[in-house]
Assembly symmetry: D2
Homo-oligomer: 300 residues x 4
């Protein structure tokens, strides 16, 4: 897999964007032109205490009320305020890989190598990534394509460990009568998302998802990002597990510079057989973060 590490950064030395270089003003206009009715479909889950996470690298999401109106208005009254003004705030502890989120390019390595020739000694600091953090991700406004493969095996969802192959992907494009194009964001509906917060134990035990071949097919088409309605995009356990772990992450993020979007909500798109839409994802610029929770949408 590492054979292409020296030449994969076709966007030049030190590049922080990867396939996001394919985004452009023209691309934005073309994507916006896909919006015909103004209907917006939300593609994200609510994030709350108890949200699923993959221990130990991912850590639990914790939110508490911090300041409360009841107490803070007493504090302000003591300072002289007569307008009985209360404020509520919270304190949150989390990893960025909670709920619906996007992975930054620096999230994974192949050995010592990150995307674009960056290496982990120079680019991973104590306070987050020095290079390839999510703050480098530009706004994504591009064509989105939803591929619904949930029914491939005759049920409502594929099973954990079920690899979605290149052929499966090709057939899904055909079924939508869509040809992949440079700048696309591809969203894969496996049906697995139904277990998010309804049965987290099941959700985390494994998942269906694309194998490395399918991922390579998509990245070679020039996609900007690939997402799915599961925890980690790729099939788990992987087809060569435990010899090879997380190869789709290694290929997409490190080799291809293609972002990954996880824990998506794609049921509405699938139910209505919506294949193509204006996709918008605005990653919050947390410096050095290896991803961030997001709220992607489809505009029809």
């Amino acid at each position: 897999m590492t054979s292409c590490l020296h030449d994969h950064s076709k966007w030049g030395k030190g590049d922080q964007l990867g396939a996001a270089n394919l985004l452009s003003a023209e691309n934005t206009l073309a994507a916006l032109a896909l919006a015909k009715t103004g209907r917006v479909i939300d593609l994200s889950h609510i994030i709350e205490n108890g949200a699923p996470y993959m221990a130990p690298n991912q850590t639990p999401y914790v939110i508490h009320s911090g300041a409360t109106a009841r107490n803070s208005k007493k504090v302000r009254a003591a300072m002289g305020a007569t307008n009985d003004v209360g404020a509520n705030l919270e304190r949150v502890g989390m990893t960025m890989h909670v709920g619906t989120h996007i992975d930054a390019l620096g999230h994974f390595s192949i050995g010592e190598h990150l995307y674009g020739g960056h290496n982990i000694d120079d680019s991973v600091g104590d306070f987050g990534l020095i290079d390839l953090g999510i703050e480098n991700m530009p706004p994504i406004i591009t064509r989105g394509v939803c591929l619904d493969v949930s029914g491939l095996d005759g049920g409502h969802h594929l099973k954990p460990g079920r690899a979605i192959t290149t052929d499966d992907i090709k057939r899904a494009f055909e079924a939508q009568n869509v040809t992949p194009q440079s700048g696309d964001v591809i969203l894969i509906n496996t049906g697995w998302g139904r277990y998010f917060m309804t049965d987290n134990t099941t959700y985390l035990e494994g998942e269906p998802g694309p194998d490395e071949g399918a991922a390579r097919f998509l990245t070679e088409m020039g996609v900007v990002a690939i997402g799915a309605d599961n925890m980690a995009l790729e099939v788990l356990p992987g087809i060569n597990h435990p010899d090879v772990m997380m190869p789709v992450h290694q290929h997409c993020l490190v080799e291809a510079g293609v972002h990954i979007i996880e824990n998506l909500v794609l049921a509405e798109l699938a139910r209505e057989k919506i294949g193509v839409f204006c996709f918008v994802l605005l990653a919050t610029k947390y410096k050095g973060a290896t991803g961030c929770p997001v709220r992607p949408i489809a505009i029809l």
Copy 2:
């Protein structure tokens, strides 16, 4: 101020949206039609350790590397992986009111009352808001209007404590040759944003911003949200401080159901005298949160 508390919820009992009810598919299409070139202007700051916060209610933002590629690839190798796969993740502690962010309607109270007749005993739980949390905020795609008042007193920015009045606002609309309309998001450039992370002590000592009258003028126009390039939107110290604290928050959030956007980056819009644009803000759905960090954009 509390006289209108009984009738302000014109959108019905239990409403969680406030002025966001004014958003619609038609409004979305009209906003998208404002995009002519596809150029995107980012309106947000990078969020990092040391980001300014207003103690004690706001608490410091802390990000650290959690899992690191160097260590995690050792762990996976010990499990049998031969593909030398490393992952970087982080752990973050924060309040939602860090960096460029939007306030949820439940962020402030007038006494025991939150927006829409909700009261703090029922609607403020231990793990965040039970009502009026940011997860209720729909995607905002609407017309944005930038009002540049930074030069009103002849400098590059207004001074702390300098109240922006209704007349100032009206003149700024006239200068842009824009008439406010229902569904707008209004962004006020005071120039104060230049001190964000360049001089946080100054940034936090006070700020210019609209007074309550100016805020009322805007909410009566039917705006969905009001934002500024400062920490708390409104003039600090307020014009009747300490008798009246944070009246603009009380009016906008509690009385009018109008969201507030803070710590915006408006310099580029102001420099290029861009008055009207397609504004997009996608609030991440953290359940019960009193706001969230965002990455709003202007599409031209």
Copy 3:
């Protein structure tokens, strides 16, 4: 239960110490005199990621490396240091009720009332307890008594829901040939501690522990604190569950001003049939905290 709320604060209005008022220099000397050999037995568990907690009120313990020697020595070298100096630090998120810990008097309420006539509106702030936080707890150096009831039903441990009664407690004192005295700390070995971190699911499903009658018997003897080798001291589910929840906490903390120590390691004391010893517990003074992790010891 609330009938004695008006007169229980025998140590005066505003008292923050409760039964810890019984500690004295004389008591300290008497306790130290119990140390004959200088052998120290550690009564605490190691606290680590994955430590058991009772959701939702208790929240997960999370520790990860923060600054690391590898990176921090680069930072210092860049500042001019030639002595290749690295520092490791961590970031921790936790509730204080993790691992072996002591409960502060303000941890529980009976309705609006905390220990000693304090009420929750005045004494529970946004940043912890205003009264009755753990910082008020003096160092505990006193006689410790270990009561081993683990074999009462013929096994290695009592079962979840098995209430330890006053008679059980009395017989355990007799078996040790010990008479309870003012100032004692009583540690109850149920055998349940064997599941801490070896089988947290079992450990959290319920537990044996004293019922309210047994607790009252002990507090009337003038004990300073009661501890056990389980999560919550008292029998769970309680004997009148769900009508009455956590009555031992209400009685000990609120009515009697007696501290509670949880998740103790008592196996070594029990195995060697050690009944009486010098007990030392030094609660870290976290202001307003409702308890804190500790490392109590027995000195023989």
Copy 4:
């Protein structure tokens, strides 16, 4: 300085205790015999929001209320409880080097080396130290010696950058008429502790403390730990700053296996000219932590 790295671990390969090997049952009995009156002097500060920290490696302490009695009793009532039972808990975020604390041996490195031949690649994990974490520290019950050097220059405290030399230390022992002995814990009162939480800016700008020579003199005497009433024990800026940073930490922790105690409260000992006492410090066993907040005491 690194010349002795190969032979400093006189307690054997893989040792995790360092000079704490000098603690013994005999030593414990001898220390307890120093307690004549049973009076206990607390040597620790209260830890609260706003506690001083040395950015960026140390991170801010944050505590806020988590579950509250007001809300939690509603939750339990809804589950059927009739005993109106409320619980207060908190959520804390911190580094272990906050307030009065002890440093674990693995806190500092000399290059790649930690104490005892451990190296950072093997011994520093993503979730704390794999070796030399504070959970390895045994309870400390030993002779404490307080050296009051605060008046050496004629004021109430020494000035930042004022190095306490070996001669200063020797004279302080003489003034107390004490000879250092194996197993001692040495506490140095510089007077600087008066600025803790009264003027944190001053407290953090620099500090008086022992230089490397003075530290070596003490470690050669066989002390178990050295503490002071300042942030970092050693003189800051150091006498060869910036060429040499934190040499006392490197010597004590890495070379000598001697623990460091910081932010002590020594004013009462100094004021009463108390030189020798029974010292007790019980480090909470946070696995892999590079130290922990503590509450050391002197028993007279």
